[in-house]
Symmetry: C2
Subunit: 190 residues, 2 copies
DNA sequence: TAGGTTAGACAGACAAGTCTTACTCGGCCT
DNA sequence: AGGCCGAGTAAGACTTGTCTGTCTAACCTA
């Protein structure tokens, strides 16, 4: 079947790019390495993704699905007993994540910093970071916190700051952020 | 005089590299662009800096002098009335900084993310970030706060998180971080 | 048969770093 | 005092390697 072959080629490319881009960034990974690892031809890659930028944009969307939604949000909601506990559980998820030896930091921050905020992929990264913030905002609403939008912006500062600290090597960054997060929740209770 | 000519050539290279690297990052700026803007010959650059990496390392040290020490620390100490006020004034300095239209974010974070934590320049960036943390730690000691080392690590999370938020476009990130910083100080008072 | 696929050559741009040639100029020697 | 030497410099060609993206030609397979 044509459709399934095409789909599986596209998925091979995307999953290979996902692994390489998350670990080593965008500029350090060339399309030649992607096609070699994916076992596909260069023409096939350029058939599915007209340019490397398009592949990066698809990668960022994949990252949003697998990381933002399927990992951070889902896991935090599962682990927390109540809405406030679900918010705090974000940093428990982070704590596990920071402890992994293949910890690769936040691809959205990475791409934003690497490509710049005016580049098409940098702008997309800002949108995906906004998605994370809006996930937090929704959880804050469910916890009946005051000013959920402002709360989410402050909360997001803790998330991003702890990720950078973890990249530097601070294995306890998530717990530190969680302690500050507790105070932030207290300050936003009705 | 030979020495002064050499010094001025080195300074021309470094100040040009400083302007370009802070604004556009490392990988996006080639040595050809640096020599063109500095008005010096390629051989002169490679006489003073054996490789581009060496130039980047010198740039990071320059950044530490001009930004970490001469801007953030000095300004915060000048603006704050007492040690606690000096700590909080860091975020006032950040607030001014985030408002500048040539805001270029933290070069140490940028280089760390761009080059990776195992690269020689990435490792140097981690050291320079540690310097910032130790500046905060010293100020926390002067403010007689409990556990100044732990305090500084948490404080640094707020600094780095607010910088990323400012990069995304949140102009009030510094004030948001300052509010959380106030709570952190309160939690660390004796 | 037609459309997707593979393998790989190729173009064009750009990177870091080396090297050659000519120039400038302070300090030293005769 | 005048001429020369050597170090630093300018300008830019050049090497080597990388990158993205295009293109050709043969090859499945529905």
């Amino acid at each position: 079947m044509v459709a399934s072959t095409a789909t599986s080629a596209r998925e091979k490319i995307l999953s290979t790019a996902y692994a390489l881009f998350t670990q080593r960034g965008i500029r350090d990974v060339g399309v030649d390495e992607i096609i070699a690892r994916a076992g596909i031809a260069k023409a096939t890659l350029y058939r599915h993704f007209p340019s490397k930028d398009d592949l990066v944009l698809a990668f960022l969307q994949q990252r949003e699905q697998l990381w933002t939604f399927a990992t951070v949000e889902s896991e935090a909601r599962r682990r927390g007993a109540d809405p406030e506990g679900q918010l705090l559980a974000i940093f428990d998820v982070f704590d596990d994540w920071f402890g992994r030896d293949d910890f690769e930091a936040c691809s959205f921050i990475n791409v934003l910093v690497e490509m710049g905020r005016t580049h098409v992929t940098g702008r997309a990264s800002i949108q995906h970071l906004n998605t994370i913030r809006s996930v937090v905002e929704r959880m804050a609403e469910q916890a009946s916190l005051r000013e959920p939008a402002e709360f989410a912006k402050s909360w997001h500062i803790l998330m991003k700051g702890s990720i950078i600290s973890a990249t530097e090597g601070d294995r306890q960054a998530a717990l530190r952020a969680k302690a500050m997060a507790r105070q932030l929740i207290a300050a936003h209770r009705s």
